[in-house]
Subunit: 420 residues, 2 copies
């Protein structure tokens, strides 16, 4: 048995024990613990900052980019934001115990479908250490123990935060080892977690395509994938062009580095000139690099880079955007289903029939009529915090919040029924 | 690219195309097609029987057991049962398009969570050819295309049935290739299916542990496992012993070869003698081989085989049963959580508090109070037909019927909302 497997086995055993007790933990105990955990993060901020300093020094020596260092950096404001997140999770409704359905059979059996925790959830993530607090708090509220495995560059920060959370939880009525961080950065640990189906109910990876593929290869634990967002706005022939302009700029420029920002704009040929002339001007002013097809290049001139199929499959996460002119709604739908990542896509149109076709036929987790794709988010949906946006189809699709961190069981009440 | 991979790629491409059209197929078209498919099975029974004869001859030559040959055999009665199954599925409510939830956000966005098909479902199964019709009809009704891969011993029967179903579906408004059978029995095809995540939304294996492990190793497609049922009845100290007797006999003997029959009986020490004396007599009369602990052996004498931990983890699927006397409810719960397969477990008690503890703390898909475990079944739950009983925690747990063959999407309606 490799060292990595041994580590995961030990954490797994502890976590299963914790999960078993946590599954029947009263809501008020969980909420009180979450509030105490928030207080502890703020009270013990010097420990966190000291550990973060070690990561920052190592990161600078290791040549991390300025953007990476910024994501890694913790300060008072960022620790307060983590604490605020924990307090917010304490205010959310507890999904555990919710009766999803109840019915009685002709033979008198009363069947209840009841929400219960998943068990032990593995979270594998990169860079930002605030994920430790976010993920731990959501798992705890949903009655799950968690095993966290953060990126090597944030290892000291992650250990410090998880230690404070786990200790404070245990002091407040939560079973020991409800929140565990893998303290070695060996990549083998990721593989060992992915094969620990005896202990883990699922793994939620938060990171790039490479990380997710590395986890999935050889995995026997179900993986709920949070892949990239290649999102689209389609401006239909019957669009309100002022609205389309405003939504496109918002969906691309308001925060280009997130998964629900758009990467590609599709425009119906009959409105292309009228819509694109002012839009291209605006995009170029906003320093957006536009990759366009022939029609777009005719309108935009030399500033437009010729677009390729590869571009259409690229998540830029930056002020870069592909634009294609299409001949029909059907072509737009086909394009999105072929090149998109089934995340978030929007149609701008006044025509209800076109909107219905788009909303039914675009095979994405979230489809919009006359709104920006930027609303695909647990908070914006009103679900409270989220652990990520699932691009999978099974179990959870779209924003993954507390409810998606649970499963269900059937409780059946009889008075001696037997099967004939 | 191996031959198996090529085959799966081709079937996958066709299936994705079919699934895309099937997703928006009206309910009445699907129901009409299902009824026509049922008629066609009955009308073309001679084709089916001729193909089945080839399998039976090969099976006899290959030395299949009598029990296996019986499972393989098709006759008029069994083909009629398949047809009846198809007609029943036509009467079930269509899950596609169901509005699961709808709410409006303060910014005016209206969010609808709507049920949609999974896409392409892979079903990998062994022996009984009736699974072809059952699986195909449930997938079709839920708007999914399916790729079926049956066991080699039933290959000619499976091809004949799937051909009739697929042809008849296509003649009745269903897209071509909605029902496809893998026509080669190469085991490599199973591995290729398990890695075809570009096409398949999930794989549902119906078969033993070996088959499921073979699929899961190296799988990138999510697998919804239908593993064994190691189910329990626990007779509490406050049980109605007459009811406990009746339920135990039913749960063990009524149909021992199915997953929801019990394998182990747990009895509280304080009622052991009073309960077990008549029960053991009855079990021995019914030719049940009992494996018991020391207390049971003292009561039952030499007819009782000493029970081992391995027995407690064995799905006998036969008239064999383990019996253990426990000192407390907690010990019973621990036993079930440690040795069981999280399938179906029942407590017999008059004490509501003990029942609640059992129903909350036993970590199984279906938990019963005062009833036989034999009711874990889509039909008995009132869900209509089922594709199997999931022993997984994600997506589907317990009976997997039409609803569990779907996922959801969010459709969001705005009037130009952008994110600030």
């Amino acid at each position: 048995m490799s060292n990595a497997t041994q580590i995961v086995e030990q954490l797994g055993k502890w976590a299963v024990k914790a999960a078993h007790e946590l599954a029947v933990c009263p809501t008020e105990t969980k909420n009180k613990a979450l509030r105490a955990m928030a207080d502890a993060l703020e009270k013990r901020i010097s420990e966190i900052i000291a550990s973060n300093d070690r990561d920052m020094v190592a990161g600078k020596e290791g040549g991390l980019s300025e953007a990476m260092l910024d994501r890694l950096k913790l300060n008072e404001k960022r620790v307060s934001a983590m604490a605020r997140g924990l307090r917010e999770v304490a205010t959310l409704a507890d999904p555990v115990g919710e009766m999803i359905k109840e019915w009685t059979r002709p033979n008198g059996l009363r069947i209840r479908k009841v929400r219960v925790p998943l068990g032990v959830v593995g979270i594998i993530f990169e860079s930002r250490p605030n994920v430790t607090a976010d993920a731990a708090s959501l798992c705890l509220k949903a009655g799950n123990a968690c095993i966290l495995r953060g990126g090597s560059e944030a290892i000291h920060s992650n250990i410090a935060i998880s230690k404070i959370l786990n200790e404070t939880a245990a002091q407040n009525g939560i079973p020991e080892n409800a929140v565990q961080m893998v303290e070695v950065t060996d990549r083998e640990v990721v593989k060992a977690m992915a094969r620990a189906d005896q202990y883990l109910a699922c793994i939620i990876p938060r990171g790039g395509y490479g990380l997710i593929r590395a986890i999935q290869d050889g995995a026997t634990v179900p993986v709920v994938k949070h892949l990239e967002g290649i999102c689209h706005v389609y401006v239909d022939k019957d669009a309100d062009l002022a609205m389309a302009h405003k939504v496109t700029i918002n969906a691309k420029c308001q925060r280009p580095g997130v998964c629900n920002a758009i990467e590609t704009l599709l425009v119906h040929r009959s409105v292309a000139e009228k819509f694109l002339n002012p839009l291209l001007k605006d995009l170029i002013e906003k320093k957006v690099q536009v990759h366009g097809d022939d029609t777009v290049r005719k309108l935009g001139g030399s500033a437009i880079v010729p677009v390729t199929d590869k571009d259409f499959k690229t998540e830029w996460l930056d002020l870069i955007m592909s634009i294609r002119v299409v001949d029909s709604l059907e072509q737009a739908i086909d394009h999105i289903n072929s090149f998109g990542s089934h995340h978030s896509d929007s149609i701008i149109t006044r025509d209800a029939k076109s909107a219905t076709a788009f909303l039914n036929e675009v095979d994405s987790a979230t489809v919009y009529h006359n709104a920006s794709t930027r609303f695909t988010d647990g908070g914006e949906f009103g679900l409270g915090a989220e652990i990520g946006i699932s691009t999978d189809r099974l179990h959870a699709r779209g924003p993954m919040a507390l409810e998606e961190l649970t499963t269900y069981k059937y409780q059946i009440f009889g008075d001696g029924q037997i099967r004939e």
